[in-house]
């Protein structure tokens, strides 16, 4: 164990519940220092990157960004070579999430947090932090878990695959065959649909879109990017170790999130 006391960050939008978790943690793990409490997903990522705590407690439903998305963004932006924090999700009631957590052996707490349950979580966290040998693999393991959690099917997954994208512009609706689409990119409130020569905007969220596309044809390479696998010409690694895709038919490069870097390996 390192000499410095372990530090934690709590992301929870309900102020009373954040205070309560802090209080319960003080009882269950006196040595743990809660260095920050934030109330939304974006602040969680920002503060975690700034403070680099050893433990994170992320609420699932938060304004701005869900705890799951925040964790994914954090894993992506986490500096290479630094040990990734141990992650604990907190939720009041979310049967799909809880099933997924169970399946991925992700640590989670149910609200209201009970002392006995928290004690177990704390023991597990202490073991993880003590086990230095594990540290190198924590980020890898966390990323694999997050990939699965983010890919968890929506409760009502549509069965039919999309063949045509309907994009409106002005008082016109363009019908764009999916076969012509090179990639989809989430942009603020819209999703950009890019073909070799054109760009369209649609309002269907990327996650919903992904469920209606063939996962073998369109690869998720970033939380906000679905790219046609056969349109990828090459993958380049920059000095920072990040991967970038060059496409056939388009000049711009697409960034590959660390979460999905495992897709690209020389055969």
């Amino acid at each position: 164990m390192t000499a410095a006391p372990p530090r934690a960050l709590i992301a929870e939008d309900e102020p009373l519940l954040a205070a309560a978790l802090r209080h319960e943690l003080a009882q269950a793990w006196p040595a743990l220092q809660v260095v920050a409490t934030v109330g939304d997903g974006r602040a969680a990522v920002r503060e975690a990157l700034a403070l680099r705590p050893e433990v994170l407690f992320f609420d699932i439903r938060m304004p701005g960004q869900s705890g799951l998305d925040a964790a994914a963004e954090l894993a992506d932006a986490w500096p290479a070579g630094q040990p990734f924090p141990a992650l604990v999700f907190v939720t009041a009631y979310d049967q799909y999430a809880v099933q997924a957590f169970e399946a991925q052996a992700v640590d989670y707490l149910l609200k209201p947090v009970q002392a006995a349950r928290l004690q177990k979580t704390v023991q597990k966290l202490q073991q993880t932090l003590t086990n230095q040998a594990l540290e190198a693999t924590v980020l890898e393991a966390t990323m694999a878990q997050l990939r699965h959690l983010l890919a968890a099917p929506a409760p009502a997954a549509p069965s039919a695959l999309l063949t045509v994208i309907q994009a409106s512009s002005g008082n016109q609706i363009h019908l764009v065959p999916v076969a012509e689409v090179l990639y989809f990119e989430a942009a603020d409130k819209y999703v950009r649909v890019l073909t070799a020569g054109h760009e369209y905007l649609i309002r269907t969220p990327l996650k919903e879109l992904a469920a209606q596309l063939d996962a073998q044809t369109f690869w998720q390479v970033h939380r906000g990017t679905l790219v046609r696998a056969s349109a990828i010409a090459s993958v380049t690694r920059d000095e920072a170790g990040r991967l970038h895709l060059a496409l056939r038919g388009r000049s711009e490069q697409l960034a590959v999130s660390r979460l999905y870097a495992h897709l690209f390996k020389a055969m």
Partner: protein, 348 residues
């Protein structure tokens, strides 16, 4: 029925055959001729008529759930069945008995066929109709129960309930008087939600109290992120409204408007009146300063909000027919407002 009902088809055939045997027996007893000849005529006519009518019926109703084709088509089918049955059955009878002419004259044979055919068809028709109505009623009851369950599920959303309980658990230890106040709001909210299906109308003042219960619970949870204001003019306190009519709108404002927004926002619920062509109209407004409709995915992505609005619209339609308005307006700078108007009535 959409699928062919073999059981009732065969049952009709059996009943028809038994009926034909009874006719043949009656004719034999009354001295109209040999029993086997009577049976050949009678069964020939009956079986053919049954086949034509029942198969025709199945074919004509293959697209809907009614047992009989409606109106003139049903009558035409029966007439066609009886006519075909008479012609084919007479031929069968004649073929069986050799060259013997129809044993009791063509006219009385036709009369018996028409009377028996119409009678038995009417019997099957009323039987089918009764069964159809029964099934229809059972379906309507199931639908109503399902709608009630869905409404209850939406109002007792587990996420809201467990988060409220988690907050209560904290307050019990840190601030007992506040815990008690929160518990009182929760009790009133649960009582209203669970009892709402029973009363059809209550005073607007009660409606606003229930909204206050809900908003107070949310205010404890969201802290400074939620501000709210309830404007109810004194003169409108007794206005009659369906219980928890505004609840889904306030819930939507929080869930889809304020909750996703980091800085939270404000909810205003206002009541007023406006003169209409047929008397005073009650105007109810729910406004929020949330993320607004534009920031959200199209309706398909937010089943909650969709269901809430549809439910409010449905309840108003049940009470006022088409004499109501429900307008959903997205503010240009974010925020959403929902305005409802319907005839003003006071509770007794």
């Amino acid at each position: 029925m959409p699928t062919f009902d073999t059981r009732s088809f065969l049952l009709h055939g059996l009943i028809s055959a038994v009926f034909c045997c009874a006719i043949a027996l009656a004719l034999t007893v009354s001295g109209q001729g040999a029993w086997d000849v009577q049976l050949a005529y009678s069964l020939g006519i009956g079986i053919v008529a049954w086949l034509v009518i029942d198969l025709g019926r199945a074919w004509l109703t293959r697209q809907n759930s009614e047992a009989w084709p409606p109106g003139w088509r049903g009558i035409l089918l029966i007439a066609a069945g009886i006519a075909t049955g008479y012609v084919a059955g007479t031929a069968i009878g004649t073929a069986y008995s050799g060259s013997t002419p129809h044993p009791h004259g063509p006219l009385s044979g036709l009369a018996i066929t028409i009377a028996a055919g119409a009678g038995i068809s009417f019997f099957f028709y009323s039987q089918g109709k009764a069964r159809y109505l029964q099934a229809h009623m059972a379906q309507a009851q199931r639908d109503a129960a399902e709608a009630r369950l869905k409404l209850l599920e939406a109002q007792l959303e587990p996420h809201m309930l467990f988060n409220t309980l988690a907050n209560l658990r904290v307050l019990v230890a840190t601030d007992p008087p506040r815990a008690q106040a929160m518990l009182d709001h929760l009790i009133a909210y649960l009582r209203a939600t669970l009892g709402a299906s029973r009363a059809t109308q209550h005073p607007l003042a009660d409606e606003f109290e229930r909204l206050r219960d809900y908003l107070e619970l949310m205010a404890v949870r969201m802290g400074p992120r939620l501000a709210y204001q309830l404007d109810l003019p004194e003169g409108l306190r007794a206005a009659s409204v369906p219980p928890l009519l505004l609840q889904p709108l306030v819930e939507n404002a929080i869930r889809h408007g304020l909750e996703p927004q980091v800085e939270g926002g404000r909810i205003t619920v206002r009541a007023g009146t406006r003169p209409g062509p047929a008397g005073m109209r009650l105007v109810l407004e729910v406004l929020d300063t949330g993320t607004g409709l534009a920031a959200q995915a199209p309706a398909g992505d937010a089943p909650g909000s969709h269901f809430g609005l549809a439910q409010v619209r449905e309840r108003l339609a049940t009470l006022h027919g088409s004499d109501f308005t429900l307008d959903l307006i997205a503010g240009s700078a974010g925020g959403t407002s929902v305005t409802i108007t319907f005839p003003f009535k006071s509770t007794p």
